[in-house]
């Protein structure tokens, strides 16, 4: 009912475009940190901004929170323009990378802090703080000071503090970076479960692609202040739109080359890296001879001792490096051209055959659908 009312008052907001970032630019003196970013986040969606340090993702998050002013562009939340609002008036709360729990207050008063600023009555504060503590299973640590908590507990306290005001948008700044690697994966899933339970629109920033893929419904890969690619994690992984996106999300083999034959249902690509042509089972819109890069994920590459029965997408080489990862092994195979191709071989395969050792001559090959044509 509440949502209906606000929707009537602000017709610009829809569930699909709950948060709208419109052509936002941020300049610090001469450097441009964010360079014309536009995106929209749906209500209750978990959206991730992914990129290496200095790509502008944190600046964008700080602009959403109100800590940085926008040089040009617009940010709308639920149809309302945020540009002129200071951080303390925005319906947005943030969980900081360092958690930023107030060291001189107990967990309970940390969580109550935001509600006190709002002028909520004492009884209601107590009730909502108790609910929030319960949500993150921290009720028994209510009276502790932050320094008496472990990293994981601090994170949950910080989460409770940023959720207790029921923000329209929750911002997460590198939520896992202060945690040990072992507990990260479990915590990621726990965090997502809590966020779904409360039903909150969430924008997170991370440099860890695994984290983004585990947690987010959709993600945006950023580089040099711009969005390189935006989509669901599996879309971005399977169909990267550029060399940057392909190599930033996961690892990949890139073959530079040119289209030599273009048909509506397939193309042939010649690359100086490979003796044989590459065959890709879909057409592209581009002229003959156009320079392209072909991305082939290591898990799509088949490694074999015997020559496979195909005359495209195949090459011979010798093993130069073997990295055993447990569930699979990464083989680095150097081709005659000098190019090194990575192939992930499932451990399951070695049950049947003896694994090839260093310097062994092997064939690498892949299917007609494995290659993704990248034009930039």
């Amino acid at each position: 009912m509440n949502t209906n009312e606000s929707a009537q008052k602000k017709p610009a907001s829809t569930d699909e475009k709950f948060v709208q970032v419109i052509d936002v630019v941020k300049k610090f003196d001469e450097t441009t940190a964010v360079d014309g970013v536009s995106l929209s986040v749906a209500r209750n969606e978990l959206f991730a901004l992914l990129g290496s340090s200095g790509c502008g993702k944190s600046t964008l998050l700080r602009m959403l929170a109100g800590f940085e002013t926008i040089t040009s562009g617009k940010i709308l939340i639920d149809g309302e323009d945020m540009s002129r609002l200071p951080p303390y008036k925005r319906p947005v709360n943030m969980m900081f990378q360092s958690y930023a729990l107030f060291p001189h207050m107990t967990v309970e008063s940390n969580i109550a802090f935001g509600l006190k600023q709002e002028g909520v009555g004492k009884g209601e504060i107590a009730e909502r703080v108790a609910d929030a503590l319960n949500l993150v299973q921290m009720s028994k640590y209510a009276k502790r000071k932050p320094f008496q908590l472990s990293g994981g507990q601090q994170q949950r306290a910080a989460l409770a503090r940023s959720l207790v005001k029921r923000p329209k948008v929750l911002l997460l700044d590198e939520p896992m970076s202060a945690l040990d690697k072992q507990i990260r994966q479990r915590t990621q899933i726990e965090l997502v479960n809590i966020l779904y339970k409360v039903g909150v629109t969430c924008i997170m920033v991370t440099h860890d692609q695994e984290e983004a893929m585990t947690m987010a419904d959709r993600l945006a890969v950023m580089s040099e202040g711009r969005i390189v690619q935006l989509g669901a994690p599996n879309e971005v992984y399977e169909y990267p739109n550029s060399k940057f996106a392909a190599s930033f999300i996961g690892s990949t083999n890139l073959f530079a080359g040119a289209i030599v034959e273009d048909q509506p249902d397939h193309i042939y690509v010649e690359s100086p890296d490979l003796k044989q042509r590459m065959f890709i089972s879909h057409g592209v819109t581009g002229p003959l001879g156009m320079p392209v890069s072909i991305s082939v994920r290591p898990e799509r590459v088949v490694l074999s001792r015997a020559k496979p029965a195909q005359d495209t997408n195949v090459a011979v080489g010798k093993v130069v490096n073997i990295a055993y990862m447990g569930g699979y092994t990464i083989y680095h195979v150097q081709l005659e051209s000098g190019k090194v191709v990575m192939a992930n071989v499932s451990t399951l395969m070695f049950d049947e055959t003896e694994p090839p050792g260093y310097d062994a001559e092997v064939y690498v090959s892949w299917g007609p659908t494995a290659g993704v044509v990248l034009t930039k």
Partner: protein
């Protein structure tokens, strides 16, 4: 690796401590001497402590010093915190280097020069605007505050620099206005620096002779001034008694302050760990 010689260590340490504390110890011992002469021991007595209690000049001077010390400590902490905060947080504004240098200058400018320049200023001001009509508590206070602001500003500035800015961001994010953030988050977190600054200012002020000498007027003689002028007229065991009382008070004060500050420091370390 050089192995420290245990005997040598003990000897050097004892020599050092002897050098530091022998004069003070002899001063304390002779305060209980009955003789009029400072250097000849006659018999144990509290005579000079009794005389001290009836020495109105000394007692008045002590009260005045205490008053100026307290006033200086509070004013310096107030202004110094302000300056330190600006230096640590305002970023590089126009004239930052000049401002920063000017805040720190009193640390290196000899007190004599500060004293003379302030005295000249006050004299000139009195001539043109009629204020200050005469030198006294107020002028001493101004001089002391001028000196102590620098110390407080430096302490506060370094503490604020190491403070995680995301704490203040978080408070603002949760709906507190910048003004409120300063009082509810920043101040409590730098309280230790404020206490250190307060204690340092108080000590500097109580102890100060040079500035006070230039800036005092009739009827506003601080304790160090009285002691200094009396010593020039000849030593008196009463001074020993006074010194002993001071040493006792200071020792108790320092030990208590140390105890609490170490406790707070441990807590802070645990927090940041």
């Amino acid at each position: 690796m050089i192995k420290p010689n245990k005997n040598l260590q003990v000897t050097v340490l004892s020599l050092g401590f002897f050098f530091l504390y022998a004069p003070i110890l002899s001063l304390v011992v002779y305060s209980f001497n009955d003789s009029q002469l400072v250097t000849i021991w006659s018999k144990f007595s509290f005579r000079w402590y009794g005389e001290l209690m009836h020495d109105d000049e000394l007692i008045n001077a002590a009260w005045l010093s205490l008053k100026i010390g307290l006033m200086t400590a509070f004013a310096s902490v107030f202004i110094g915190t302000w300056a330190g905060f600006v230096l640590a947080r305002m970023g590089r504004f126009r004239g930052f280097a000049l401002y920063s240098a000017m805040v720190n200058a009193p640390l290196v400018i000899p007190e004599v020069i500060q004293g003379i320049s302030l005295l000249l200023l006050f004299v000139e001001m009195a001539k043109y605007i009629g204020w200050p009509a005469e030198r006294g508590v107020l002028t001493i206070w101004i001089g002391h505050v001028m000196l102590c602001i620098s110390y407080v500003a430096i302490i506060v500035q370094s503490r604020i620099r190491e403070l995680d800015t995301s704490l203040e961001d978080a408070a603002m994010d949760l709906g507190a206005t910048p003004f409120k953030v300063f009082f509810v988050i920043t101040l409590p977190l730098i309280s230790q620096a404020l206490v250190s600054g307060w204690l340092l200012s108080f000590t500097l002020s109580i102890d100060d002779l040079v500035l006070s000498a230039f800036l005092s007027g009739p009827g506003s003689t601080t304790l160090p001034l009285v002691v200094f002028s009396r010593v020039r007229l000849g030593l008196n065991p009463e001074m020993n008694a006074l010194a002993t009382i001071f040493i006792t008070l200071v020792t108790i004060g320092v030990l208590t302050a140390n105890y609490f500050m170490q406790k707070a420091e441990r807590k802070r370390m645990a927090m940041s760990a």
